[in-house]
């Protein structure tokens, strides 16, 4: 029995997450029909295999690992998008995931429509939603004309500005970032970094995934390196960074 330390906002114990994969082609479809009810139609692939992780309140935590090591799956599990097979996750506070910039935006509708739709999806309601429109407008620096336009006419950078602004319009307890900051022009990138620092100052815990060690070192103090669904190394950012770099040699 592990008692959760007061300082931790995230405590993960013995976490197992599986992918349920359906095969393709005639055979897998036939199997699914024939075996229906008698056997599992979906094949299991273990992605996270008994992972343990504690993250302290207010810290900025880096997550590294090769492609396919389970980083995104871990983030999605922490965000509540994937249900774990086994193990426990304890999370204190609200989680704002920033997993893919622009996901869910409806290209046929205007910027304002998208703010209202995405705002509702991330949990804003009523008065809070109304107020956030102004916040988002200010932060994204998009004009009233821009926001009245169907977003399919936006440039990639404008789209990213809108999407990022919606995601960060309120300060969450925990922010999960998956390589999302490499969007927009230089001015906007600096703004994003500034907003993250603002959140940090407000006490937000940040989990940050990136392959750029320089970027991670700039923002984070502690980190972990994932290997094959488990934590291979955890500790101060410099040590973990070194471990990560050595793994390619």
């Amino acid at each position: 029995m592990i008692i959760m330390n007061e300082d931790f906002v995230i405590s993960v114990r013995d976490l197992y997450v599986n992918f349920w994969i359906s095969g393709t082609g005639v055979n897998s479809f036939k199997d699914a029909v024939m075996l229906f009810g008698r056997q599992r139609a979906l094949q299991k692939k273990q992605v996270l295999k008994g992972l343990n992780l504690d993250i302290k309140k207010g810290e900025c935590f880096a997550l590294m690992g090769k492609n396919g090591s389970g980083k995104s799956t871990l983030l999605r599990t922490l965000a509540g998008i994937i249900t774990p097979e086994k193990g426990s996750i304890q999370i204190r506070g609200t989680v704002a995931p920033l997993l893919a910039i622009g996901a869910g935006l409806e290209h046929e509708l205007s910027g304002y429509d998208n703010i209202r739709i995405m705002g509702t999806l991330i949990g804003l309601r009523g008065k809070e939603l109304k107020e956030s429109v102004q916040t988002i407008k200010n932060f994204s620096e998009l004009s009233h004309d821009d926001l009245s336009m169907q977003i399919k006419r936006y440039s990639a950078g404008m789209m990213a500005r809108l999407a990022f602004s919606i995601s960060v319009c309120r300060i969450p307890d925990i922010l999960i970032v998956d390589e999302a900051l490499s969007v927009g022009d230089q001015g906007f990138q600096e703004k994003c970094a500034h907003r993250i620092n603002e959140m940090k100052a407000a006490g937000t815990t940040i989990i940050y995934v990136s392959h750029s060690l320089t970027e991670l070192k700039r923002i984070c103090t502690r980190g972990a390196c994932l290997e094959n669904g488990r934590i291979a190394k955890i500790g101060p950012i410099d040590e973990v960074g070194m471990f990560y770099e050595q793994s390619f040699q």
Partner: protein, 255 residues
């Protein structure tokens, strides 16, 4: 807590359904009118082709129109619900939401479209000889039961469509066949006695009977029809939700 959950789900369903409706007609000139023109086009074809053949049916246009309105609703709903999970893949993979929201909002959007189309269609029905009696009010619970059935079967097929995209293709292939197999343009007693069991295995046959009894024959549907339609709605809805809950853990890795 439960109240909060339901309220939250309702707000999400409302938002996404509204989005679906807006997007559907965004770039068309006639917009919402298309949801009226589509069944009307079929109605005109039916009147031209079948009026002579079914000269013995009084008020044939009304007969066909009732069938067409509720077929169109079913067909549109199925198209939308079956693909609702796949179409929202990017949201499902990035935001933690109750995923049942997507089939529900697709169904809700189609239901609203159908209810809106009923206003002009009612005047057309009156023109074709609809009599309003107290039986007409039964159309409200009938639509409710029919909607439950549609959501159930759509969610069931939508769930499996995530893993085997064949389901969506299968539906596209079978829906025209189902259209002719269901007594929409013709009278069901046209079918020889020996095939009746086969025809009655089609769930839509019973829903068509239900709506025709209410709107065309102005009579109370038989208790057999009521029991069958309610039971089918209950069973498909339960099975649909059960399967959805059972297999939703595989959505993220298959989208």
């Amino acid at each position: 807590m439960l109240f909060y959950k339901i309220k939250n789900l309702y707000q999400l369903v409302y938002t996404i359904a509204l989005k679906n409706i807006k997007v559907k007609y965004k770039n068309s000139v006639l917009g919402y009118m298309w949801s009226l023109l589509h069944p009307l086009a079929y109605l005109i074809i039916f009147i031209f082709v079948f009026s002579q053949a079914f000269a013995n049916i009084e008020r044939y246009p009304l007969y066909a129109l009732v069938g067409l309105i509720f077929w169109t609703y079913f067909n549109n709903s199925m198209n939308q619900i079956i693909n609702s999970i796949i179409n929202n893949a990017s949201i499902i993979k990035t935001i933690a939401l109750p995923n049942i929201l997507f089939p529900l909002s697709a169904a809700f959007a189609e239901l609203v479209t159908m209810l809106l189309s009923l206003i002009p269609f009612f005047s057309l029905m009156l023109f074709f000889g609809l009599q309003i009696t107290w039986h007409t009010a039964l159309v409200v619970p009938a639509i409710f039961v029919y909607a439950i059935f549609t959501i159930g079967i759509g969610t069931l097929m939508g769930t499996f469509n995530v893993f085997f995209r064949d389901i969506g293709i299968l539906w596209n292939t079978l829906s025209p066949a189902l259209f002719y197999f269901t007594p929409i343009a013709y009278l069901s007693n046209l079918i020889p006695e020996k095939y009746q069991a086969f025809v009655q295995a089609n769930p839509l046959y019973h829903y068509m009977t239900l709506f025709r009894d209410i709107l065309f024959y102005n009579q109370m549907p038989s208790s057999r029809t009521i029991i069958i339609t309610c039971l089918m709605a209950f069973v498909t809805f339960t099975v649909g939700l059960f399967m959805f809950n059972r297999y939703k853990k595989g959505f993220v890795s298959n989208l």
